[in-house]
Assembly symmetry: C2
Amino acid sequence: MIEIDAIDRRILAILQKDGRITNADLAARVNLSASACHRRVQRLEQDGFIRAYTALLDRRKLARLSTVFVEITLSGQATELLEAFERGVRTIPDLLECHLMAGTADYLLKLAVADTDDFARIHREYLTRLPGVAQMHSSFALRTVAETTALSL
Amino acid sequence: MIEIDAIDRRILAILQKDGRITNADLAARVNLSASACHRRVQRLEQDGFIRAYTALLDRRKLARLSTVFVEITLSGQATELLEAFERGVRTIPDLLECHLMAGTADYLLKLAVADTDDFARIHREYLTRLPGVAQMHSSFALRTVAETTALSL
DNA sequence: AATACCACGCAAGATTCTTCGATCAATCAC
DNA sequence: GTGATTGATCGAAGAATCTTGCGTGGTATT
């Protein structure tokens, strides 16, 4: 595994918060020249530490105010069943996350929906059509207390 | 609420995937001149549609391979209790999300941890010290099937 | 039909990126 | 100790990009 030092971690921490900071400003904040800083960022990108640069949109402005978590138990654990289920899951347009959970053969899905009606539509059009589902349990988030994509460094 | 048109949605969709695309390339992909495109992006930023630009890091490279969901039931529902709990939650360094869930007074936490030992440490140092906790139930994600920050547009 | 209003494209000045060679410090072999 | 090697740094300059002013065209409103 490629090692990174304290300066690299500072660079990553800053880019996690502001992915569009200019190289000159980033260099100043980590006390490096622009060229040295630029080289480090390039290396971090090439080595795969930086997976992507993204714009995070405001869900309120785009009418996706509610977050719903859906726990799903499959009717079996055969590989084909899981694969078919996962293929289906990936086609859900408003899916944010899907995790295979330990313990029982449970999946946890996270969706961004506009409101309860919107969730009802997604439930009807997508969730009920997923193959191999034995049980499904949905939970609405009332309020998001904390939400970040930044890892602690 | 400020309205956006189809071109704005295309711009947002592209920026969600590549937050560092050059304005010239973005303009070409939405069939606009660079200046017109730049003006739209500026407007989308000022109007708050774009909340932030971020770099998404590779959790594998940074030894945060596991995702853990923690369901927490509080011992009561008094406002002070919730506020104290939420203040405490926000200090957990590896916390990715915290949602107040509908139904019972339950919180759902999502954490990025290195492994079970790391989670044990976080559990000991942070989770057990959260005020007002009546019950706690942790679930490990075995595998992440899908994970995106991009909303469907 | 006249007017106002946007959004557009073009172009140019300002900013920023990106790469080059030279320099410096640390490490290692001898 | 001394010289060589490695790796990272810096400054500078050319290339790329951003950003803004201005004139134009299309559309809606009166």
